[in-house]
Symmetry: C2
Subunit: 343 residues, 2 copies
């Protein structure tokens, strides 16, 4: 690409160099339409102002950090990919930071804000135990598929996007009951989990209750705390233990597709068939569910749309000082080969 | 975490504040042992020097960009996760940048270097068509599982890590031939690909030739250019076309596990069984291969070690001005349920 200069931009726009400079530097003394036209021309021509002071400013302010819990989850890697594309379009840079399950993401965020000059933060996944610290965060942030912000946290001070985890989980378990299943195991989050995992468990319980099926605590199988959360490995281990417990069940609902895939493998490794012996359903709608054998019944979250909305909402807060926004997406129940009517 | 000050660090170390300051600012006038002790104390206590000039310097220089081609590939998402952890340990920040398959990663890198002040760059995946431009890159870089740097590129000016793609591919195809397969299809890269895909195809051809099996061009199935490269979807579409072509084959070697999984699904969807009707083998060794039905025979790259080595080598170049290094890892052939002896 041929190097463009500020002169070229001025010529293209039919204005003087000082006008281009005012546009670039957000100078108040410029007609908004002229400014928009100049900025468009700059964008279209890929011109990068190489004034070093400006570069410095850009370096300081043009990063959005994505703090993610549990990145080997395919749900998140798809989200991150889409977010990165959107952030790039907005001329920001994505700083990726992985938070361990035993780390507190708010501490990590406070630390990052100190070290780097971030424009904004996206919290992806996880849940908040120490919400009072959120008030210390001095950059705009959005909770993306994070649950647990307490009711006393002022909703005008942060944004969020999610699905209605409780209702979607209810929908899936309700469908399994419609198929004739009464003994439905759930592969759930660790018991101290206050996040999405808790909401999905609540939906499970409510669906059983709606059909006068009593909750059998021995069919509530929390993930193992000593393995990566929401991993195939964890789903495998927990399902293996369930099968060995000889507790009867005909369907298993895993609160994520990755767990469900581990569960499927544990079932087939034990010599049983899906769906003939056990129906298995997941949650998330990752692409893999379509390619797995058997293909996976699931609650499909609109992953791309959610990732795009996350960046869009945060960007509006950053660039236009828009108000914070809370968006709840509808998910879709997709029935594939891993579930069937009980015989 | 309680806020630490430079005073606290000085007290803990039993030195004066100015000594701590010299340590932090890399001042030459300090005993190296004292400096190491102070830096250790700083690290252990999570102290962040909050002198703003220093923050600025850190912001400018402490980022490592990872430029990745094809991020929905699970191989890369695992690499990125491990790299992020290692980069974090070194007190750098990972800037993630996804490069489209039709974009030139060197252009993207040159642009990023202009916009951001990067300390170093990791190129992850892909291949280089315009290598002459690499010489314009003014920050240290490492090619991680990238192939194609031309022989005239001075190897003392960049680092690289990889496996021996040609030899590992030979190993797998050789094994399929040992199992009695003679009609072996390969799901390969698009024909203009000069990267890893080309090397893996070369290994396939050499293995056939070593056993006096002539290469049947109709069994060389390149990925579709109009779909995401190395995706399950692409593997599915190409295998479906192969099955419909009625060209006979008994085994299929896909040059990546994600492609192999798509291939497996296309085969089972067509009513055929794996491995009874077709043996399927992949390449990469992603964890999913273990949990797929059937579990996938593959060439397992030491993904974690490779990611760690990538960061370690680059870090040494950045911090100790170490010489550039080229490391080739051994991979392992793992036989699982998707392949069997021909009957």
């Amino acid at each position: 690409m041929e190097e463009m200069t500020i002169k070229d931009i001025a010529k293209l726009c039919g204005v003087g160099i000082s006008t281009v400079s005012r546009a670039i530097n957000n100078h108040p003394d410029i007609n908004p339409e002229t400014k928009a036209m100049i900025m468009n021309t700059i964008e279209e021509n890929g011109y990068i102002p190489n004034n070093s002071a400006r570069n410095l400013k850009r370096t300081e302010a043009k990063s959005i950090a994505v703090l993610v819990k549990g990145m080997s989850n395919l749900f998140f890697s798809t989200m991150i990919k889409v977010m990165e594309e959107e952030i790039k379009k907005k001329k920001y840079t994505l700083v990726l930071h992985h938070v361990d399950f035993n780390e507190d993401e708010i501490d990590v965020a406070l630390q990052l804000v100190k070290e780097k000059r971030l424009a904004g933060i996206i919290f992806l996944g996880g849940y908040f135990q120490h919400q009072e610290k959120l008030e210390k965060l001095q950059v705009p942030y959005i909770l993306s598929t994070v649950s647990g912000p307490p009711e006393n946290l002022n909703r005008t001070e942060y944004s969020s996007i999610s699905v209605d985890d409780e209702a979607e989980s209810f929908k899936m378990v309700n469908r399994l009951i419609e198929l004739g299943h009464k003994k439905i195991a759930i592969l759930s989050a660790v018991s101290e989990d206050e996040s999405i995992g808790k909401l999905r468990l609540m939906g499970y319980k409510r669906a059983l209750q709606a059909h006068q099926i009593s909750v059998n605590e021995r069919l509530i199988m929390p993930m193992r705390a000593d393995m990566e959360q929401y991993s195939m490995q964890n789903g495998y281990a927990v399902t293996q233990a369930l099968l060995e417990s000889n507790e009867e069940f005909t369907a298993l609902f895993a609160i994520s597709d990755m767990l469900a895939i581990g569960a499927c493998k544990a079932i087939t490794d034990s010599g049983k068939r899906i769906p003939e012996d056990y129906s298995v359903a997941g949650f998330d709608g990752i692409q893999l569910g379509q390619y797995y054998n058997p293909s996976l019944t699931t609650i499909k979250q609109p992953i791309e749309e959610m990732a795009k909305a996350t960046v869009k909402i945060l960007y509006k807060v950053l660039s236009d000082h828009a108000e914070h926004k809370h968006q709840v997406f509808a998910a879709e129940l997709i029935e594939r080969d891993s579930t069937q009517k009980i015989k």
